[in-house]
Amino acid sequence: MKWKTIEKRNFSALVEELAKENEVIGPLKEKNTVTSVRITSENEVCLDFWNTKKPPKEVFFPQTETLFTYRTSKNDAEIIESPAIRKKMVLVGVRPCDSRSLVLLDKFLSSGEHKDVYYLEKRKNATIVGLACNHPLSTCFCTSLGGSPSGKEGMDLLLQDINDKYLIQTVTEKGEKLLEKISWLKDAKKADIEKGKKLSSDAEAAVRSKVSLSDVSEKLDKMFDDPFWDQICQKCLGCGVCTFLCPTCCCFDVLEEGEERVRIWDSCQFLCFALQGSGHNPRPSGKERMRQRIMHKFNYFVKNYGKSFCVGCGRCVQECPVNLDIRDVVKTISARKVE
């Protein structure tokens, strides 16, 4: 592990350096929201933000993606594969919760017989430069999910704001190699590292929102037919805010757009998500749809991969139009007496 520092005012020079061989994607402030976009010489990456409105999943799993194009003639059909992405990417300013979400997505989309080559192709070309959280929000609950405001999971490098400069920590060999090319970075002083450690432990303590998940998966095993779902779904509008802004939700629909086979984000909260060609809908009401979302995150995924499919980023908590707070849902499950 290596420790370096960079003066804040030199950060754009670092980005410029990285942009020589990579496509750099980083947070940018636009109209009161921060979105991750391609950083060019025209714009400047912003590292003073809570978190990006949308999670980084969209870099690897865009909302609309052409899988392949085809041409048909009377007796024949030809498939034209989309060109493979060879360009290397560097994602700058990824928060620890979001970086962790990529690790979960990697597991989910690469296991089993059918691998998501579209996601994985982009993913393997990416280097993740994380940014530790010094000031977690009241809606952050990463520590309850096994994360941390200075967590390194999924990162190649970790940045930390230590007032006038960023402390850079190498996490993987890939990250180390990226830094090797930038000769002018200074080695971190002992005091810088100490300062970083202090900020990390302060931040860890500042995550006050706690959710106990210890018995949730087990309880959910016995709650499939629980009347609880009737109550909890009452106020849900069935929109896609929670799932679309979720860093781990990755369900999609496949469409024909002219001669293109396209996939788009889909949401288990939508009426038509489970609608079958016959007209039958196995999840006809909000109750079944809400149950699916909670079960997938806190039961099915736990069984299949040993972890919850939530990183506690709090986006759904902040943005739900009716303040249906997933932390409350989990707490209610946890407090429920089941036979």
């Binding site: 109209k31 009161n32 929201t33 979105t35 003073d48 933000f49 809570w50 409105k53 949308k54 909302q63 609309t64 000031h135 929000l137 009241s138 809606t139 109550q231 009452q234 106020k235 509008l237 069935g238 929109c239 896609g240 805010v241 679309f244 802004l245 629909d253 469409l255 757009e257 396209v262 788009i264 984000w265 949401s267 939508f270 009426l271 038509c272 609608l275 060609g277 908590v317 902040q318 943005e319 139009p321 009716v322 303040n323 249906l324 707070d325 932390r327 409350d328």
Partner: protein, 316 residues
Amino acid sequence: MENFEDSIREVAEKLLRDKKVDLIIGYEQGTLPLRTTPCFVEKLEDVKKLVWNASCDANLSKYVVGKKEKVGVVAKGCDARLIAVCAVENQIPRENVVVIGVPCQGVIDRKKIEAKLEGKEVLEAVVKDEQIKVEGEGFEVVLPKKDFLCDSCHTCRHRNPPIYDVLIGEKLPQSTDKNEFAEVSSLESKSTEERWEHFKEELSTCIRCYACRNVCPLCYCKMCFVDQSMPTWFGKTNDLSDTMIYHIVRAFHVAGRCVDCGACTRACPMAINLRELVKKTEKIMKERYNYEAGLGLEEVPPLGEFKMEDSQEFIK
């Protein structure tokens, strides 16, 4: 306001006790500062959960559509107007609903407060009289409420519910001097190309989450045009042309019905000013038909009516 809260609880309790309704739909304290959340009360002991404050922003009429049981619902001016629209459109049996009307002085737009604080998180907020006191780590600010209301509340001219069964408190004087179409007029002064560019830019960040549609009490179609898949009617991608056709068709669909409650704009996670597009249709309805939606139960909406003496030939 506190009196309002007590009165709402009293009314709710009485309605439940007398078995006039099976369910009360109101607001309860949310999990975040400046937020409330819809509250469904069936049991007498839960009546105390009900609150009333300047963060009661959800349009609860959404939850009345399709309810089989008898419902009592807390309704601000705009909410009550939507109950009226839905009743006229045969979506809410009027006799099934007890409208607990609340004269409304506007609801707070928490995103405006967020923008004002430039990156400082609100951890606590108290609204008293005409002021909002917000606190966070190392700061405390007092903000005048009138500057942080939702845009739709700023120009609202129907603060009192036009239909109600029980009224909480007393009616507020109607404000008549407000030009609610100022924004539309400024858009109208631009060229077609400029307007197109404006809407393109505004809608470019849409993520097709349909919060605007799903929060809208008027979007009660069993199958929305955009969800039609056998065959597909409209594109579902977030390509700008697909996104725009969705918003344009939705605007047409709520034309002459929308009461500008602002719920769509509040629900949008991407902070798109969705009201703007529909506000123009509202202005047209006012100018051509002298019609405002949801002011009564008798008037048939102009776009839902046919007259033999219609001046346009094509319709006959």
